[in-house]
C-alpha cells in the first residue's frame, strides 16, 4: 500500500465500519454480526434437533450445558482482554494447573475442601498476575507471553501431580456440580455462570471501565491522554482471567472427579474461537458480550451435535479451527462487500441525478 508516496494517505486510523456498541440498522440484508450469530445458533439448533437423534433431549441439554460451563467462564474475561487488543492463550493451562493444585492440596494438605477452593481461585489469580506483570510491567506482547505461560503452566501441572490423577473427592461435591435445577434439565452450575456473565457484561457495557476498555483497544495513546490507566487496567484483566481459570479448574476437577495434568488441554483454541465468533475483533476495540454468549452456545451446539453423530475428536478440532478462521475472515469480507455496495450506490446517485 504505502509503497507509493503518490498515493494519498488513507484517512489515518479511520475505519468507519468499526463502531462498537450500536451497529443496528446497518446494511440491510447483511445485518449485524450479533444478529447473524444468534440466527446461526437458532439454525444450528433446529438442524441438530431434526437431523441428530437424541440431540433434543433433556439429558443431552444437560450435558451440553455442563460441557459449556468452562468454555463460557473462560470466554468472559477473554472477551474483555481481546477488546483491549490483548489475548490470553494460557487459560487452558491455568485451568489444568489449578486442577492439579487442587488435587495436590486435597491429597496432602489436610485442609477443608472449602478452603482449598478459595486457595485455588487465589492461585489462579496469581498465575494471571504473572501474565499481567510480563505484559504490562515489561511491556511485552501478550501473544508471546501467554504462549510462553501456556507451555510453562502446563509443564508445572505435570510437576505438581506427575502423571497420576487425584480422584477421591467427596461424592456430595462431585454430584453437586452436575445436579440439575430441580424440575428442569438445566444444571445448577449455569446459575453462577449467568451471574458472572451479567457482571462482565455490565462492566464492559455500562461502566467507566468498559468505556476505557474500548478506548484503549482502539487507541491506547489517546486513552492514556484521557486519563485511563492502560497498564493497570490490563493487569487486572489478566488477574481476573486467572481467577476465572481457577473457578473453571475447580469445576472441571469436580465434574470429572479427576485432577490431572492434562485437564482442559487445548481449550484455549475453543475459547478464542467462541470469542471471535461472537464478533469481538481480534484487533481490539470492537465486540459485545451478548455476541460472545451466542458464540459460545453456537460452538457448543455444533460440537455437541457432531459428537452425538459420532464424528471423531480430530474432526471436531478441524471444525473449531475452521470456525476460528471464518470468524476472522468473514467480518472483513462483509465489511469489504458493504464498502463496495456503498460505493456502487454512490456512483449510481452521481450518474443518475
Amino acid at each position: 500500500m504505502a509503497h507509493d508516496s503518490l498515493t494519498p494517505a488513507p484517512p489515518a486510523g479511520v475505519r468507519p465500519e468499526r463502531e462498537p456498541g450500536r451497529r443496528a440498522g446497518l446494511g440491510g440484508a447483511l445485518g449485524s454480526w450479533d444478529a447473524a450469530i444468534v440466527a446461526g445458533l437458532v439454525v444450528a439448533g433446529l438442524v441438530a434437533a431434526v437431523a441428530v437423534p437424541n440431540f433434543a433431549t433433556g439429558r443431552n441439554a444437560q450435558f451440553l450445558l455442563l460441557d459449556l460451563v468452562p468454555l463460557a467462564l473462560l470466554a468472559l474475561p477473554m472477551t474483555l482482554i481481546v477488546v483491549t487488543g490483548e489475548i490470553d492463550l494460557s487459560v487452558a493451562s491455568m485451568v489444568g494447573l489449578c486442577s492439579t493444585l487442587m488435587g495436590q492440596l486435597w491429597l496432602s494438605s489436610g485442609l477443608s475442601l472449602e478452603l482449598i477452593c478459595v486457595l485455588v481461585v487465589l492461585l489462579g489469580a496469581l498465575l494471571g498476575a504473572v501474565n499481567g506483570v510480563f505484559v504490562t510491567g515489561f511491556g511485552l506482547p501478550s501473544l508471546a507471553v501467554t504462549i510462553g505461560t501456556l507451555a510453562l503452566y502446563r509443564g508445572l501441572s505435570f510437576v505438581v501431580l506427575g502423571d497420576q490423577a487425584v480422584a477421591d473427592f467427596p461424592a456430595d461435591w462431585t454430584a453437586a456440580v452436575v445436579r440439575p435445577i430441580p424440575g428442569t434439565s438445566i444444571p445448577v452450575m449455569v446459575v453462577p455462570v449467568v451471574l458472572l456473565a451479567l457482571v462482565f457484561g455490565v462492566v464492559l457495557h455500562a461502566t467507566a471501565v468498559g468505556r476505557a476498555l474500548y478506548a484503549m483497544g482502539n487507541n491506547g495513546e489517546a486513552a492514556t491522554f484521557a486519563g485511563v490507566s492502560v497498564a493497570r487496567t490490563k493487569f487486572w484483566l489478566f488477574v481476573a482471567s486467572g481467577a476465572v481459570c481457577g473457578l473453571a479448574g475447580l469445576f472441571w476437577t469436580l465434574r470429572y472427579a479427576s485432577a490431572r495434568g492434562d485437564n482442559a488441554t487445548g481449550l484455549e483454541l475453543t475459547v478464542v474461537t467462541a470469542v471471535l465468533l461472537g464478533g469481538v475483533s481480534i484487533f481490539g476495540g470492537r465486540g459485545r458480550l451478548l455476541g460472545v454468549v451466542a458464540g459460545v452456545l453456537l460452538l457448543g451446539v455444533v460440537r455437541n451435535a457432531l459428537q452425538l453423530d459420532d464424528v471423531d475428536a480430530n474432526a471436531l478440532t478441524i471444525v473449531t479451527g475452521t470456525l476460528l478462521i471464518a470468524s476472522v475472515v468473514l467480518p472483513n469480507a462483509v465489511g469489504d462487500v458493504r464498502a463496495r455496495l456503498h460505493r456502487r450506490r454512490q456512483r449510481a446517485q452521481v450518474t443518475a441525478p
Binding site: L6, V14, G21, A226
Partner: protein, 507 residues
C-alpha cells in the same frame, strides 16, 4: 529568480477547467479551475472543507473528477490512478510523509525501481550515489544510507521531494507541508521550492499560514465550499482580502483577546527535568491568564506539557495545581486535580477516531457520569449534546465515528471532552493546527472567554501571530530550557524568534 513579468506570457503547464466531484449527495467540488505555470508557485487556500484535499487527490490520481477537463502542456490529461499521475510528472508531498522507517533513505527514494547488479541484486552503492546527487540538487544534506526512522518531518518531506525529482516531476503539489515545521525548516523547504521553480517546475502550495503563502507564491487561488472563488497574483492581494474571500464575510477580529483579570496561581511547575529532553523548567500560570509557550519544533514544549499532565514521567522537579503537588506519571490524578491537556496530535492522542462523537466527548468524564458505578448512555448522551452544542460541533449524529468529522470539528470535540471536566488549568498544545480560519477564531474566542471565567491557560503554539495575539505572557523555550519570559508588551515577532533560536541573552 524566474522572470516574473506582470502578465503571464507563457501558456500554463497544467490546467484544470470546470472540475466537479461529488461523493454521494455531497458536492465536494464544482466548477473549479486552476492554471499552474511553469516556474511559479501557486497557492491554494480555503477553509477546511473548501475542497482543497479533494482537488489534491484528483491531481494525485486517487479520485477521478466527475466532469471537467485537465490538460498538461495543452494535451488532455487523464489520470486513472496514482501511477498515471506519476507518469505525467505530478508529485504530491503530504504534511506527514509515510516512509518505511526501517529502510534506508535511498531505499525509500528508489522503492520498487532500485538499480540492480547481476543476479537482480540491489546495487546499494549506485542507489546511494543517485540519492546523494538528488540531495545535492536540492542543496540539502541527508545521509542516503541512514534509516528513515528518526528523520524529522522536515527531512522526511525532503526525501519525498527527492523522490519526486527522481521521477522528473514537473508539477509538485505540497499539501500543508509546513504545518509541523519550525521556522528554520520552513525557510529551507521554501529555498528548495524556489530552486525547483527556477528549473521550470510548477508548485501548488496549500497552507493555512498567510505569511508563508505571500512569501512563496506568485499566484493564489481561493476555494470556498467546493467552488472556485478567485485566482490572481498575490502581489495584488492583502491578507484581509484573501480571508474575506475564503470565508465570504469579514472575520471581525482574528484574536479577540480580552483584558486579563489575574487571580490566584493555579499551575506551578518547579525545576521540572527530564534527562535529555528538558531541564529545570520553572514557571507558573495564574487564573484568568493565557500563557504561551513558544519555541521551535523540538524545543521540548510538548514534552513539558506531557510531563506536567503525567503522560510522561520526569526525573526531577514538581508540579502543583492550586498549591497541591501532583503525583508524577498519573494523568487520572491530574484530571481529578483540575488539569486538562488538549494534545498536539488530534488523531493519535486527542481522540479515539473509531469511537463515536459522544464516547469521545465524555471519555474523560466517564467515571463522573456514572450513577452507582453504572453508565447507561443517557447521561453520556446528554453531556455530549450539551458540550457539542456549546462548541457548535457540526456532526450528523452523536453516534457517528469522530473520524468522519472535519479537522476543525474534531478539534472542537477534543475541547468539548476537556471542558466537560470543568478544568481549572487548561493546557492546549497547538490549539488551531490544521483547522480553518472560521473555526480558528471560534477557538480563540473560546480560550479568551475561558480565561475570563478564571481558567488558567497554558497555550503551546508554533504560530507566532497566535502567540502574540492571544498570550498575556510568553515563555520561550530553546533546546529543552526556558530561556525567556516576555510580557505582552515586550513580546513581538523579533523578540520571540530571537529567544527561540537561542539568541535571547544577546537581544
Amino acid at each position: 529568480m524566474s522572470p516574473d513579468t506582470g502578465e503571464s506570457t507563457s501558456s500554463p503547464l497544467l490546467v484544470l477547467d470546470d472540475i466537479a466531484k461529488s461523493f454521494g449527495a455531497v458536492a465536494a467540488l464544482r466548477g473549479v479551475r486552476l492554471a499552474l505555470h511553469s516556474g511559479e508557485a501557486h497557492a491554494l487556500v480555503g477553509e477546511n472543507g473548501a475542497g482543497k484535499s479533494t482537488l489534491v487527490k484528483i491531481l494525485a490520481g486517487a479520485h477521478a473528477p466527475d466532469s471537467g477537463r485537465m490538460t498538461l502542456d495543452g494535451k488532455p490529461l487523464l489520470l486513472r490512478g496514482p501511477a498515471d499521475a506519476r507518469a505525467a510528472g505530478i508529485a504530491v508531498i503530504y504534511q506527514e510523509p509515510t516512509l518505511f522507517p526501517d529502510l534506508s533513505v535511498a531505499e525509500n527514494i528508489f522503492m520498487g525501481r532500485q538499480p540492480l547488479r547481476s543476479l537482480r541484486r540491489v546495487d546499494t552503492r549506485a542507489m546511494n550515489r543517485a540519492a546523494e546527487q538528488l540531495f545535492a540538487r536540492l542543496g540539502v544534506r541527508i545521509d542516503p544510507a541512514r534509516p528513515a526512522r528518526g528523520l524529522s518531518i522536515a527531512d522526511q518531506q525532503l526525501v519525498e521531494i527527492a523522490k519526486a525529482l527522481s521521477f522528473d516531476a514537473r508539477v509538485l503539489v505540497m499539501d500543508e507541508p509546513t504545518a509541523a515545521l519550525s521556522g528554520v525548516e520552513v525557510d529551507r523547504l521554501f529555498g528548495v521550492a524556489r530552486s525547483l521553480c527556477e528549473r521550470g517546475a510548477a508548485v501548488l502550495f496549500i497552507s493555512h499560514r498567510f505569511d508563508e503563502v505571500f512569501a512563496l507564491c506568485q499566484r493564489l487561488t481561493v476555494l470556498r465550499d467546493g467552488a472556485w472563488v478567485s485566482s490572481g497574483r498575490t502581489a495584488d492581494l492583502s491578507v484581509d482580502e484573501v480571508v474575506r474571500r475564503m470565508v465570504g464575510r469579514d472575520v471581525d477580529s482574528l484574536f479577540p483577546k480580552q483584558e486579563a483579570v489575574l487571580r490566584d496561581t493555579l499551575l506551578e511547575v518547579r525545576g521540572l527535568t527530564r534527562a535529555g529532553v528538558f531541564s529545570d523548567v520553572t514557571f507558573s500560570v495564574r487564573g484568568g491568564e493565557i500563557v504561551a509557550l513558544a519555541g521551535l519544533v523540538g524545543a521540548g514544549r510538548s514534552e513539558v506539557a506531557r510531563a506536567v499532565f503525567g503522560v510522561d514521567r520526569y526525573d526531577a522537579g514538581e508540579v502543583l495545581v492550586a498549591g497541591r503537588a501532583l503525583p508524577p506519571g498519573n494523568p487520572g490524578r491530574a484530571i481529578a486535580a483540575g488539569l486538562a491537556l488538549v494534545p498536539e496530535d488530534r488523531r493519535q492522542q486527542g481522540l479515539v477516531m473509531e469511537l463515536s462523537v459522544e464516547r469521545n466527548a465524555t471519555l474523560a468524564r466517564r467515571a463522573a457520569l456514572a450513577r452507582l458505578g453504572l453508565l447507561f448512555g443517557g447521561a453520556e448522551r446528554a453531556e455530549a449534546r450539551r458540550w457539542t452544542r456549546r462548541l457548535r460541533v457540526k456532526t450528523s449524529r452523536l453516534t457517528a465515528a469522530v473520524g468522519t468529522l472535519s479537522g476543525g470539528n474534531q478539534q472542537k470535540v477534543v475541547l468539548a471532552k476537556w471542558l466537560a471536566t470543568h478544568p481549572r488549568v487548561l493546557i492546549i498544545d497547538e490549539p488551531t493546527r490544521g483547522i480553518d480560519v472560521g473555526t480558528k477564531s471560534e477557538v480563540h474566542r473560546l480560550l479568551s472567554e475561558l480565561a475570563g471565567e478564571g481558567m488558567a491557560i497554558l497555550m503551546i503554539s508554533s504560530e507566532l501571530p497566535e502567540v502574540l495575539g492571544m498570550a498575556d505572557r510568553v515563555l520561550v523555550m530553546h533546546e529543552g530550557r526556558l530561556v525567556r519570559e516576555l510580557s505582552r508588551d515586550e513580546a513581538d515577532e523579533t523578540s520571540v524568534m530571537l529567544a527561540a533560536t537561542g539568541q535571547g541573552a544577546i537581544a
